[in-house]
């Protein structure tokens, strides 16, 4: 009972933000359209590469790469591209003061709000993308370009687990971006820097599996892999079940590290918080 009670503020905040974000239908359609164009473009580039390669037996088949691409587009907003705009606005308007006025843990509070912000935007985009790439494309007899089913049931189940940890890890990284915003009082700097890291090291630009073999261990071990590449590899089946568990373990490990960093950082930032002007 006491525990359920203590979760109440965070569940309420998650639900409220989730509902508000779902209202932005035009943004969802716009995002979906952009991601369709990007996905289509990338799929065609990959197809051209694969059809003209002389190398046999690469790390990923064309079908796997295409599925990876569509899925990555569908989950675009689950990646930490920027700090939470609410936190940036709070820094400008001073609403952060009100966040500190609540009898709740500020880290948890921002964490659930960022989680709601990211998942609520992902939901319509992922549904539309699945409809377009996994249903409409095959109906148009474009099976070769379509988003395929997961490798098998075991991989599908592990993918879902890994997806949950991808969200946790992405939000934990978003929290570090939020801290930078509060510490530097602007979201410009960090929101310019973060996408460069995310696009390269999560596999968003190029699946990490397509990078040279000697880079693979380092690529999988770094924290960003868990923010896209690990669940993607599990879905398409390029990680065997043991590999999948190791990948999820890495996601859990990095989540805990980033959360610990975020909590320590938040304590420091709040201790020297200053609010000027009225």
């Amino acid at each position: 009972m006491a525990r359920a009670l203590s979760c109440r503020p965070y569940l309420a905040a998650f639900a409220a933000r989730f509902r508000v974000m779902l209202q932005y239908r035009a943004a969802a359609w716009a995002g979906f359209t952009t991601q369709c164009w990007w996905g289509g473009l990338k799929v065609m580039v990959y197809a051209a590469f694969y059809h003209h390669t002389t190398q046999v037996g690469g790390p990923m088949t064309l079908a796997q790469t295409i599925t990876y691409t569509w899925l990555a587009q569908a989950l675009f907003t689950l990646q930490p591209w920027s700090g939470d705009p609410d936190v940036a606005a709070g820094v400008r308007t001073g609403a952060i003061g009100y966040d500190r006025l609540r009898p709740i843990d500020t880290y948890h509070w921002w964490f659930v709000r960022a989680a709601a912000w990211m998942t609520a935007r992902a939901l319509p985009r992922a549904a539309l993308m699945a409809l377009a790439a996994a249903v409409v494309l095959p109906l148009l007899h474009l099976d070769a370009w379509a988003w395929r089913m997961p490798a098998d049931a075991a991989h599908a189940a592990l993918f879902l687990l890994s997806l949950v940890w991808m969200i946790v890890l992405s939000v934990a990284f978003t929290m570090l971006l939020n801290l930078c915003i509060v510490a530097t009082l602007t979201d410009r700097g960090i929101n310019t820097l973060a996408p460069a890291l995310v696009i390269l090291f999560t596999g968003n630009l190029l699946p990490l599996g397509l990078l040279p073999d000697w880079l693979q261990p380092a690529m999988l071990a770094q924290p960003f892999a868990g923010m896209l590449d690990i669940p993607m590899r599990i879905y398409i089946g390029t990680l065997d079940l043991t590999g999948a568990w190791i990948g999820i373990g890495l996601q859990v490990f990095w989540s805990l590290v980033l959360i610990a960093l975020g909590r320590a950082g938040l304590r420091r930032v709040m201790a020297r918080l200053e609010m000027q002007g009225g």
Binding site: L11, G94, L101, R102, P103, L273, M275, G278
Partner: protein, 326 residues
Amino acid sequence: MPQIVVEGLHKTYRIAERQPGLRNLLRRRWREVRALQDVNFQLEAGELLGFIGPNGAGKSTTIKILSGILRPSGGRVEIEGRVPFDNRIAHVARIGAVFGQRSQLWWDLSVGDGFDLLRDIYRVEPQAYRRARDELVAMLRLERVLAQPVRQLSLGQRMRAEIAAALLHAPPILFLDEPTIGLDAPSKLAVREFVQKLNRERGVTVLLTTHDMHDIEALAQRVIVIGHGRVLADQPFDALRANVLAERRLRVQFAGAAPVIAIAGAQLRSREGNAVELAFDPREINTPTLIARIAADYEVDDIHVTQPAIEEVIARFYDLHGAAEA
């Protein structure tokens, strides 16, 4: 044991100074701003304290420290035996606060949904919540705006909603930082009336900052004047009024051209055509005596006595103590 104890409170900010040209790139220069220097006061439960002072005097900083948002650079603050910044979560559950220039309700939610969210944040029991909400909605006349998104409210409606939002968890202590800023006359009256009722009937301790001296006049029994981060005066409002607001003005309309008047204790402020305005201190020469002496010597058409506007007096008080904003 007082409910709020503030002893030797200090707060120092560091502000980056911009230098012309490119020198900033190499080395940034910092300037220390002493927002509060040795602030002391105590507040008993159920008191209503007004905090006044020019812009930048340290009023808001004090409230933010008392709220547990900012950590003081030095000194001791204890509220109900707790140190606000160190016991933040336990402390903020017992206070309500409104910062007039910022909004605590979510922009995108309706007022009612915003209240519900606060119910969950403060973990208020459903029945207690419904009672508190219905009462606040009725007292602050919010029935018609409950379903409206916060971004569509007028300033007066928003401020009333903000005050209700700060009280849903029935805190025994309320901090109001410029709650009437920008409001029209009826809204100001509504807010004042409500705060007074809350303090008198429920015994809620209220600490209020404002630039509107009518707020202070209507509400505060006790006033702290703060300037340059120091307490300049801490006294009952009536005492402050007696000391600082003692001056009276006498405006006399003569039948003919205004004469030159020399009466001890009365200073000439202006003489135009048939009218003269004198300033006097009733402790030196009382009003009937002054009027009688003028009426005895000259033919008078009309006389009226006024008090200088309270704003004017406070401005003079700030000047006197060198507290006016730099």
